[in-house]
């Protein structure tokens, strides 16, 4: 666990600047079994201290891969010198952003640090799960079990705002199954299982995962008999994982204030209708629907206490996600979205737990209402650009014919423009599906969660 070497150094922060001093340890463990062969058994730890200094509209940053009094002094001085270099050459003369309410939030980290398990625990778990799959489903072409556990511990001291100390752990088991069609063509499907918490907390017995493996295998067998989707603009029921991905990729990124300044479509849509009245979208901080959010954030890396950011309210675009500098620029309130991945990374505007809010319809009614379309359930990746045009890879879905599910479909891709596609939403289910297995990539990686209900809408689907 990190010791506090930084809060006592606040007196050394340079006057006339905003300064952040952060110590951090990031750990991860990876186990991979490929058809029974252990190909990865790794443990990784990265730690150090960094400082960022804001002065007259520019930032200086520096980091060092050690954490002692000398390293703290060296990064504070180097960050100040870098800010001075930029200030001297650019002379932007921007004012300091408004001061933040100060305080502290120190989590009880003692118990979290006792959760690391012996390496054999992970291997044994993976081997037992792999053994179940190979014995129960011997005709599979291949199987992969991947265990991933990561955590980040941060100690933050800021010139104004909240000082904080916390640990954020996450663990997942990924199961990848491959079968062959009658023609010998491989088809694949995977499922992530897990969430916030250490491996020991989330996974006590491999047998508890068997039902999810059985469900995955059953879907794979349907996909093995699957058909190609027909290309074109279709009415679809978008599953909860996909509506969450839509919230993050196609809408969320366009309303990150740094991307708004970079020219995103949200720049000229604030206050305007961008979606159907049924759509509201929130980036939750730490609590959602009276429960802990999947990956809670309480204080960000600029020392701002985290609060929810309402982005779309009943179809109207009402806000952006900000850091302190962009919040000042846009005259908004920062909600605690500035986060850094490694000790050597500067805070960027990042999403946290981004979700479309549920509605009042039942999933069965959504499906029954589609005469000729698709029910799209799972994705392996998604991308969007600052125009809001998005692309999601679809790995599992079904035809809908006459209001009933038909054949499974093979891998395909869907696309649309978020602020146009969201206006076509005419039914929203009352369920909520969260996924927190992913990383968002925006210069740095960052664990994020996404969520949403099922949506009935129109998208363009790729296919033959």
């Amino acid at each position: 666990m990190l010791n506090d070497l930084i809060t006592k150094r606040k007196s050394e922060f340079h006057p006339g600047t905003h300064t952040e001093l952060r110590a951090q340890i990031s750990k991860n463990r990876a186990i991979t079994l490929v058809s029974g062969n252990l190909t990865a058994n790794t443990r990784n730890e990265v730690s150090g201290v960094s400082a960022r200094v804001y002065k007259n509209g520019v930032y200086g940053f520096s980091s060092a891969a050690s954490y002692d009094d000398d390293a703290v002094k060296s990064v504070l001085d180097a960050a100040k010198n870098n800010a001075d270099f930029m200030d001297t050459h650019l002379k932007k003369q921007k004012p300091m952003f408004p001061p933040q309410e100060s305080g502290s939030r120190f989590a009880d980290t003692e118990s979290l640090n006792k959760r690391e398990l012996p390496p054999r625990t992970y291997i044994d778990f993976a081997k037992q799960l792999d053994g179940y799959i190979s014995n129960t489903y011997p005709s599979l072409a291949s199987r992969v079990i991947a265990i991933r556990e990561d955590s980040m511990e941060k100690f933050l001291a800021v010139s104004d705002g909240y000082d904080t100390h916390f640990i954020s752990p996450r663990s997942y088991v990924y199961v990848f199954l491959t079968a062959e069609t009658k023609d010998g063509m491989p088809v694949e499907l995977f499922a992530p299982i897990g969430g916030y918490g250490s491996f020991g907390e989330n996974f006590t017995d491999p047998a508890l995962l068997y039902p999810k493996v059985d469900e995955l295998h059953a879907k794979l067998m349907q996909k093995r008999e699957g058909v190609f989707a027909k290309a074109g603009l279709k009415t679809v029921v978008l599953g909860g994982d996909l509506s969450g991905m839509l919230a993050h990729e196609a809408v969320g990124h366009t309303v990150e204030a740094d991307l708004v300044l970079g020219g995103s479509v949200a720049g000229h849509n604030l206050g305007k209708k961008v979606a159907s009245d049924l759509i509201s979208l929130v980036d939750f901080a730490h609590t959602a629907f009276d429960k802990p959010a999947p990956l809670p954030v309480y204080v960000d890396d600029e020392g701002v206490p985290a609060t929810d950011a309402l982005l779309i309210d009943k179809g109207n675009l009402v806000g952006y996600m900000n850091n302190r500098e962009t919040a000042h620029h846009f005259g908004m309130k920062p909600n605690g979205n500035a986060r850094a991945f490694l000790f050597s990374d500067e805070p960027l505007i990042r999403m946290r737990n981004t979700a479309v809010l549920p509605g009042s319809n039942k999933l069965d009614d959504l499906i029954a209402s589609v005469d000729d379309g698709y029910y799209l359930i799972s994705s392996n990746n998604g991308q969007a650009d600052t125009t809001g045009e998005f692309m999601f890879g679809i790995t599992m879905g079904y035809e809908i014919k006459g209001g009933k599910l038909g054949h499974a479909i093979l891998d395909t891709t869907i696309t649309g423009v978020a602020f146009e596609m969201l206006k076509t939403v005419d039914m929203v289910s009352d369920s909520m599906n969260w996924s927190s297995s992913g990383y968002c990539g925006k210069k740095q990686q960052m664990p994020v969660s996404v969520g949403g209900p099922e949506l009935r809408c129109k998208v363009t689907i790729g296919g033959r």
Binding site: V34, N37, L38, A40, N41, T42, R43, N44, E45, V46, S47, V58, Y59, G60, F61, S62, S63, A64, A65, A78, N82, A83, H89, P118, P119, R120, Y122, I123, A141, S142, T178, M185, A231, L233, D258, L261, G262, G263, H268, E346, N380, N381, Q383, D385, T386, E389, M391, F392, G393, I394, D411, T412, T413, T415, G416, K443, T460, G462, G463, R464
Partner: protein
């Protein structure tokens, strides 16, 4: 350098004290000086100092791996203990192995000494050039950095490599705007070992800015047809990466799902296609000099005149499957150019699109792909007509490389790869 070398030796001494015969270690230090531009303005100057220790051991065939960014003696000792602990949990597998003793090497790559004032000046001029020559372009983010690293690599068979390297990297993400209309964003970049040339003249920057300015006003394609796709170097590199990873990489060969698993020596692509992985090519900046297992890197052809020549296998998967390991572990991809200019090839296209960027899902093991053609243009009767939007392409990667229409004589070099334009027929193109 000597300090890193002695730390690597210390680490392997501690490994040997535990009677573990096979191990390799890399001890390195890194300094990064980086300028950032956000929303069209310089925003940040950061200086990073980091270290890395990565240790892999095969403890009676049981694999362990640890990595951390501390390289003091106490941390090295803890890393050895931790790695041994991890390895104890692994099942034994005789396929894990390391390189035998060969010729040791001291390598100096690129430009190890940073010139920060010159880098900043070049960056400011680049910003001014973009503003003056391409006024519709807004820089979403630009990262300009110098990366300097020193590393000491050793294995228990006596392999010793010492490397000092440095390079400058320029990466820019941008879009074009007119009022409330905008293009899709686009990313372009280069790795360079010299600051002699203005950045605007490097890689494909000018061509990219020019094309994106033409994409503010787009027209969706109507209907669906089978046509020709022109893949510019950057798009081609992405497509080939997915193709080769899916069908020549460790994972698909180990689990037996590669549809090319029995195709060595056989035709898998048009005979005009020759692809090599060549980290030692003079146009590659700071290319790999040795593999992680300790073998000296050599260039090799992965596809030669359309025939599959090699897989991209690690020593482990090669041993596991009775195949041959790849002669380097880089992805410095070089495609042999053609004889005609791209403009001439385009003149022969009846109906198709130039795919500036392909935003697609990860193709499955069967090679089926579908994606959105971003930053793209419609081509009809040999003429580039207009920029397009909301257009998808789909097909099968294995078929795509057999349906080659032509390869351009022009190539683009970004410091990592050297690629031409490639043009393929029989791709499904669907609009609204």
């Amino acid at each position: 350098m000597e300090e890193l070398t002695s730390k690597a030796a210390l680490c392997l001494d501690l490994v040997k004290e535990k009677n573990i015969e096979k191990a390799f270690v890399s001890v390195s230090s890194r300094e990064v000086n980086e300028f950032n531009v956000d929303g069209g303005e310089f925003s940040l100057f950061r200086t990073l100092f980091d270290n890395a220790l990565s240790l892999t051991m095969y403890n009676a065939g049981r694999k362990g791996f640890v990595s951390l960014n501390r390289i003091d003696a106490a941390s090295i000792k803890a890393a050895v203990e931790s790695c041994a602990d991890v390895s104890e949990s692994s099942p034994p597998d005789p396929a894990w192995d390391i390189a035998p003793k060969g010729e040791n090497g001291d390598f100096v790559k690129g430009c190890p000494t940073p010139d920060i004032p010159a880098l900043f000046d070049r960056s400011k001029v680049f910003m001014a050039n973009i503003a003056e020559d391409y006024p519709a372009i807004i820089i979403e983010q630009m990262i300009i950095k110098h990366i300097k690293s020193k590393s000491a690599y050793q294995n228990t068979n006596g392999v010793i490599y010492n490397t000092v390297s440095g390079k400058n990297v320029v990466e820019v993400m941008f879009s074009a705007h007119e009022g409330e209309k905008s293009s899709s964003f686009y990313g372009s970049g280069v790795s360079i070992d010299s600051l002699d040339k203005p950045f605007i003249e490097l890689g494909t920057f000018r061509e990219d800015f020019e094309n994106i300015q033409k994409q503010v006003h787009t027209t969706p394609l109507e209907g669906k047809f089978t046509g020709t796709v022109v893949l510019p170097p950057q798009t081609l590199g992405g497509v080939l990466y997915v193709l080769l990873s899916n069908f020549c990489g460790d994972m698909s060969i180990l689990n037996g799902t590669s549809l090319w698993k029995d195709m060595i020596g056989k035709k898998v692509a048009d005979e005009k296609i020759t692809l090599s992985l060549s980290p030692l090519d003079g146009r590659v900046v700071c290319g790999e000099r040795f593999t992680s297992e300790g073998f000296r890197s050599e260039n090799y052809d992965i596809i030669k005149d359309g025939a599959l020549n090699s897989f991209m296998l690690s020593l482990y998967v090669a041993n596991k499957t009775g195949r041959t390991r790849a002669r380097n572990s880089s992805f410095n991809l070089i495609m042999a150019p053609g004889e005609k200019p791209i403009a001439e090839i385009i003149k022969g296209i009846d109906k198709g699109i130039i795919v500036g960027r392909l935003s697609g899902g990860d193709p499955g093991a069967n090679g089926e792909f579908a994606g959105v053609a971003k930053n793209s243009f419609y081509v009809e009767n040999g003429e580039i007509k207009h920029a397009i939007s909301e257009t998808m392409i789909s097909g099968n990667l294995l078929e795509l490389v057999k349906n080659l229409r032509g390869i351009s004589k022009e190539v683009s070099c970004d410091g990592d790869s050297v690629l031409p334009y490639a043009v393929f027929d029989n791709v499904t193109i669907s609009g609204k």
